[in-house]
Symmetry: D2
Subunit: 334 residues, 4 copies
Amino acid sequence: MGGLSIKAGIVGGAGYTGGELLRLLLNHPNVEIAFVHSNSQAGKPVYETHKDLLGDTDLYFTDELHQDVDVLFLCVGHGAAKQFLEAAQLPASIKIIDLSQDFRWNESLKEAVVTGCEREFVYGLPELQRESIKQAQHIANPGCFATAIQLALLPLAQQNLLTEEVQVSGITGSTGAGQGLSPTAHYSWREGNISNYKVLSHQHLHEIRRTLQCMQENEVPNINFVPYRGAFTRGILCTSYTRSHLSQAEAEELYGSFYSTHPFVSISKSTPDLKQVVNTNKCLLHLQKQGNYLVVTSMIDNLVKGASGQAVQNMNLLFGLEEQAGLRLKASAF
Amino acid sequence: MGGLSIKAGIVGGAGYTGGELLRLLLNHPNVEIAFVHSNSQAGKPVYETHKDLLGDTDLYFTDELHQDVDVLFLCVGHGAAKQFLEAAQLPASIKIIDLSQDFRWNESLKEAVVTGCEREFVYGLPELQRESIKQAQHIANPGCFATAIQLALLPLAQQNLLTEEVQVSGITGSTGAGQGLSPTAHYSWREGNISNYKVLSHQHLHEIRRTLQCMQENEVPNINFVPYRGAFTRGILCTSYTRSHLSQAEAEELYGSFYSTHPFVSISKSTPDLKQVVNTNKCLLHLQKQGNYLVVTSMIDNLVKGASGQAVQNMNLLFGLEEQAGLRLKASAF
Amino acid sequence: MGGLSIKAGIVGGAGYTGGELLRLLLNHPNVEIAFVHSNSQAGKPVYETHKDLLGDTDLYFTDELHQDVDVLFLCVGHGAAKQFLEAAQLPASIKIIDLSQDFRWNESLKEAVVTGCEREFVYGLPELQRESIKQAQHIANPGCFATAIQLALLPLAQQNLLTEEVQVSGITGSTGAGQGLSPTAHYSWREGNISNYKVLSHQHLHEIRRTLQCMQENEVPNINFVPYRGAFTRGILCTSYTRSHLSQAEAEELYGSFYSTHPFVSISKSTPDLKQVVNTNKCLLHLQKQGNYLVVTSMIDNLVKGASGQAVQNMNLLFGLEEQAGLRLKASAF
Amino acid sequence: MGGLSIKAGIVGGAGYTGGELLRLLLNHPNVEIAFVHSNSQAGKPVYETHKDLLGDTDLYFTDELHQDVDVLFLCVGHGAAKQFLEAAQLPASIKIIDLSQDFRWNESLKEAVVTGCEREFVYGLPELQRESIKQAQHIANPGCFATAIQLALLPLAQQNLLTEEVQVSGITGSTGAGQGLSPTAHYSWREGNISNYKVLSHQHLHEIRRTLQCMQENEVPNINFVPYRGAFTRGILCTSYTRSHLSQAEAEELYGSFYSTHPFVSISKSTPDLKQVVNTNKCLLHLQKQGNYLVVTSMIDNLVKGASGQAVQNMNLLFGLEEQAGLRLKASAF
């Protein structure tokens, strides 16, 4: 495994998730970056866009697609991934890891697999279906809020314990909205501010419900989700609660057991805070029984475990590498 | 009314709410500050503690109580207000406005009045009971989260429309925790961070439930509240939702009518954000019907409408002044 | 004076300085806002752009100019003020207060007065030339960095004590760059970040040098200025130092005397911080003698004393009102 | 080299630099952490103090010193390192890397070596004296501001080009002040704030001056330094300027050549910003000729290149490892 070198291509390399993927792959022991595709930045050095990479890479963006790669990461916008694949005529042998939502769910399915563009995309949440991912050819990488909420609820769904309405609130950092300039991305507006958006109507709810229903036999109840825009750049913290007969000890036993073989999920006994996971591929969970309710706090870095880090984790699984390869990241902590 | 001058004393003037009260009263057209009491800072200029007041006042903190005042604001900690009144032997003619929680609620009452220290304290939420406040002698000033949540739910309670569980999440700025140094007040920890605390067990729930039950005939349902510590200094934003038969138009009609005579509450048609109210005495509400749920977003400045500004509003009512006197504040907006 | 009502018009009312001016004038006891002009927002309520004004005003933006005003504030961009005046054909009786840099300086002048568009514009720094402003018809309102640096150096210039090079560094909040969307205004970039710009080449140096030369007989020495973009929204803090024979006591005496009649400038004995002046029209100064150097720290709110507040201060002087009318603002402090 | 395993001990492991060192050493391919000493936290898991390490390590703090180590990192406060060494009676064979200022400079020396506690400490700035470090037994790790300023000026000193006064301003994040609770560390104070401190009198000036004088034959001129506390947690950005005869091209040639063999220093052609280096061991430099002045902007992460990362870099050199081992860190970038 030490000698294995995977040739990787990146499409949409000038955006936030593309940049984060570059930061990870440049230090990955088993990856060689074959090319970084960008229509807008073609011909320019990668470090002119991702300025922290100055001194780390001499790569240039290109607008040509090289087919001599083992894996292709699609870091383009929602809708654009499907368009790209339809136009690109790639050989089926190239594994695709798509970070958009284009192949994440499909209303009619009971399995976390979606067919599209003549390919079958396995939903890339390793804590849900690591073995299916290992066997897969193509991956639909999960959404950021969807990752944080699913990891909070998966153990309950596996035991058919989601029986009453679930309430979720969550706060996301600004990088979740990408690098586009918009009024809610303006520093003078967002600094020291907070606002909610898409209350009870966030698009990730489809993805979450589908996943939970794959695990749970009885029907998954209503999930209400209030998302907030927070005054920080990185990370997502969610609080989920539902009525439950589990005691504190039973809940800890259930979650501890479920995640015991998953290296990126940890259960915190003490109240955690978001910066414990920022700039890492970790998900941190905290469990509290309050009256009849089980409260699960979950947190991830939206650009790492919520996007590019999880994409690398999926790549590791696709190619039989150690799951943590290239993902032992120093937390920023402050 | 222009000539009326109220002599005001402040006890606990060195803390955050005391400072905010000073900022307001120094510019109030009908108030003369008789003294500012502080045990810890006695003998020092007020501007050494509240440094923004340099150039605005030559007042010194004192550890003596002058009884020649019309109104006394208690800006001391929870528990300390009761202790102070028990020890101070103040004439009953001095009106008291207590910013602590010591006289806010009493399990057995169905009215928003609490008796203690040989006095009767009217709960000082003007949008709940302005007329009672006008007739009152002493005021228990509401809590900050309690203000934001009550203003979101009062019109429903008045119409007996709180029939199913209410879910609330809210984010507060750091000044809500006062000026004490603590790990969660450390800049290096809190900057760019988010965490929840007292999930489903916040102490303001008693106060909220009592108020709503005063208004609503049928029993007020369970209220679940998830509070968050946000990475900002001022303000509280809450999202409350419950199942409701009201349509969007009916909800807007109900809330618009309820608050039409209340100068500090406005209903925003568009999605609001916290900084619209920061550094003002306003409460902003936003209504959305989503499926079967009515979602109410509410926001205030925790130190103004959530504390010292509301105290001044109550003082205005107690003394027959215009409700907005001294409270037409320039928003900071950014 | 209580009865005096000034009819004011605002041109360019949809930007940051226009909004800040509205916040001030709506609460000014002697002003009636006649109209708010905006090409981009004409026909829309003012509170849709300046959202904190919801509940405070029913004004609409207009694209028509009413000539029945006493004073017109120009809150348009640099260059656009001159263009506007050339096109608008306003009667000379309307007083103009221009917040752009179009009439602030003129290379050839030794006086802080600029002629342009058939008008004479007096440079509106009251601490420099309050009497000239009182007699003036039109005002060129100073720049924000220029205000902070000039107030740090004026007393030295008056005594011909600027004899050796002056070093200045200063940090500005994001609102100084206006509401335009740009990469350095993106929250994900600016949060927790710092960068310098226009090092030793900032355009305000012309304005500063001209003012100081008006006061000082001998030639004003070289002024080096390093501006920084800070991770905050409001305010400017500058540190200026130069070799000086003044002792600490002599410096304090000089500055105290110079500013004794100027209500918005205070000298702090202790080390100050920016938030002492945020959301006020104050300038705070701090003096330190270090070896052979006199160090002057100065700070203002860039949108208030650095723009719209100073414009109101100038209006007060133009119309014989009390200098502080409408400018006794509650600091945000946090 | 792949097989080499260095046994490392950490003294003062509960503070910020101790935590940062742990984050680095846990992922270092050639290090085994023998023990983490802390008087205050002895007996508790390391992850209770450094909460981001939950899931990464099962280490406990200890109050015992194990002597079976190859290297000992001292992460205790200024003064405490000397006290520790005097009391500890360590064998001379254990290499010491001291992060305090206790052995950084000595007024009388012309060499960057200090003798104390019966040991000789080589000043650990690899870009100054990499070969001496490789031969050293003990290291005095440089200060954070000192690192940023020295790296900005070293190439000039080497060429005897520091002939006129140098002006420096710099802004530091809050972690530079450690984890102690203090008024200037309070979130409600520091958020959105800026202030200067120790103007023209910062203690790192001794260290800087000594280093530059080691390199330059003629006397190093006066260096004026204005430090600021910034509203961010990590990083230092400094702007230094001095009169220089070098052209832009000559300066770039000089700096490019000087740093060509130093893997952590890069020269940016475009204006850089602090977040390009946050959470990395890099120093980024930018050169601008403005009139007669050469302006050098330099930036580092104060906890990494300014403290624990540089300590690891020094350890790598002491033990003949690759200089970048364990220091290829993913930037946080946002």
